[in-house]
């Protein structure tokens, strides 16, 4: 059975594109299928992280609002 790594990334108070950059740095070295939950407060991240995922082959599998915070769940794609 393949184990999936699930990590949290605290990008609260960071303004875009820093949440994207921190996500990019966290995803680097992770395996396809692994999951990163990005905690953000910048509403721009709701658009920028999915856009970054689309162009780089990753997938946003959930976006949840928790008060003023957003939790964007990213599944790492295959390296190309």
């Amino acid at each position: 059975m393949v184990s999936v790594t699930r990590v949290q990334l605290d990008a609260r108070r960071l303004l875009c594109p820093l949440p994207v950059i921190r996500t990019q740095e966290r995803v680097e070295g992770m395996a396809a299928g692994d999951v990163v939950e990005v905690l953000c407060t910048d509403p721009g991240a709701r658009h920028d992280i999915p856009a970054w995922c689309r162009v780089n082959g990753h997938q946003v599998i959930d976006i949840e609002e928790r008060g003023d915070e957003l939790v964007i769940t990213v599944q790492v794609g295959e390296a190309t």
Partner: protein
């Protein structure tokens, strides 16, 4: 029988069937979009690179002020990458970039914009990146004469040379006005299919955009960096002057984008939130600054940047009251908080509008 392939600069064997690989500097504007697209048209594998300096207008502008939250939100560099169908690598250069802003070898433009040093820096970073990632050359959307400092006939060679990119730097939009680069000499790209744009006119770019079917694109034209903004540059210069040295941290340059900045005394400055979005953003700095807000009336969160005594605090409270809904009241209660958690309330008379000199505003 000879080897039917080639070595790239890192001595990695690249089969002839694989396309040459270029990294394109993607700002999010039209020129870099077109330059990358021209390369794709020639069968080059293109990936984008975008450098985040901390001064980029992208991103923050929508995030803070409530009135801007209704505007379409997109990071133009990411949007360009999506239009092109290419990967985009966003690189954090905040720390390294400080030296470019503080000590630009080629000086500043009209404000505190070190455009030529900035371009050299970014192309140098791209040069390192292609070595690390096995790419063949670098592409930019530069056009001779497009920008007054960094894109002139005499400065384009400076960028190529000082960055170390030399003939691995290709500018597809004006290449035919420049000496052939290695990608052209080696036949990786067809020079005849490149362009000879020059000058400040945008018409050739718009025509090329139409040919490629791009109808929606950002037009930053130098407006992609806060350092080109006069008011922002005034605030940054004031920050340096007040500190007696030219240095900054990321929080400093973020705060320069937010609120009204007033310097009532040489030794302290106030940052006054203009609306709820800014007040919420400034709340994140409560543990770093003395801060005030009115409690008897609705009003702004105010950060105090500097060392202050009781007289200064009273003045700051009266200014806070001035920008509150109690500005016409006889008295406004203002809560004063210190970063270590101390708190007290002052009852103050709001400063009259005429008592806030224009010179206080940065």
């Amino acid at each position: 029988m000879g080897y039917n392939g080639r070595f790239n600069r890192n001595r990695v064997v690249v089969p002839m069937s694989e396309p040459r690989k270029a990294v394109a500097l993607i700002s999010g504007g039209l020129d870099s979009l077109l330059a990358a697209r021209v390369m794709q048209e020639q069968g080059i594998h293109v990936e984008g690179i975008n450098f985040y300096t901390g001064f980029c207008v992208e991103g923050h502008t929508h995030a803070i002020r409530k009135k801007d939250r209704d505007k379409p939100k997109r990071n133009n560099a990411l949007w360009v990458a999506e239009q092109l169908g290419i990967k985009l690598h966003i690189v954090d250069v905040i720390e390294e970039y400080k030296d470019i802003v503080i000590n630009p070898k080629h000086g500043y433009g009209a404000n505190l914009n070190p455009c030529l040093d900035c371009k050299v820096f970014m192309v140098r970073k791209a040069r390192q990146w292609i070595d690390e990632h096995g790419f063949d050359f670098i592409v930019t959307g530069e056009v001779i004469g497009q920008r007054p400092k960094s894109q002139r006939a005499d400065t384009l060679p400076v960028v190529a040379h000082e960055s170390g990119a030399d003939d691995l730097l290709l500018r597809p939009l004006c290449a035919r006005n420049l000496p052939p680069t290695r990608p052209e000499i080696e036949g990786w790209v067809d020079r005849e299919a490149l362009y000879d744009f020059q000058g400040r006119t945008r018409k050739p770019q718009m025509a090329l955009a139409r040919r490629f079917g791009f109808t929606d694109y950002a037009q930053p034209a130098g407006g992609c960096c806060f350092l080109t903004d006069r008011q922002y540059a005034v605030k940054l210069a004031d920050l340096w002057k007040s500190r007696g040295e030219r240095r900054y941290e990321l929080d400093d340059i973020m705060l320069l984008k937010v609120g009204r900045h007033l310097r009532p005394r040489p030794h302290f400055k106030l940052i006054v939130g203009r609306e709820d979005g800014e007040n919420r953003f400034l709340q994140g700095y409560r543990k770093q600054f003395v801060h005030l807000f009115p409690v008897s009336h609705k009003g702004p969160l105010v950060l105090v940047d500097g060392q202050v005594d009781d007289d200064d605090i009273e003045l700051a409270a009266r200014i806070t009251a001035r920008f509150s809904q109690g500005r016409d009241a006889d008295r406004v209660e203002v809560e004063v908080n210190t970063p270590n958690g101390g708190s007290r309330t002052l009852g103050v008379e709001p400063l009259a509008g005429g008592d806030v000199p224009k010179e206080w505003y940065l």
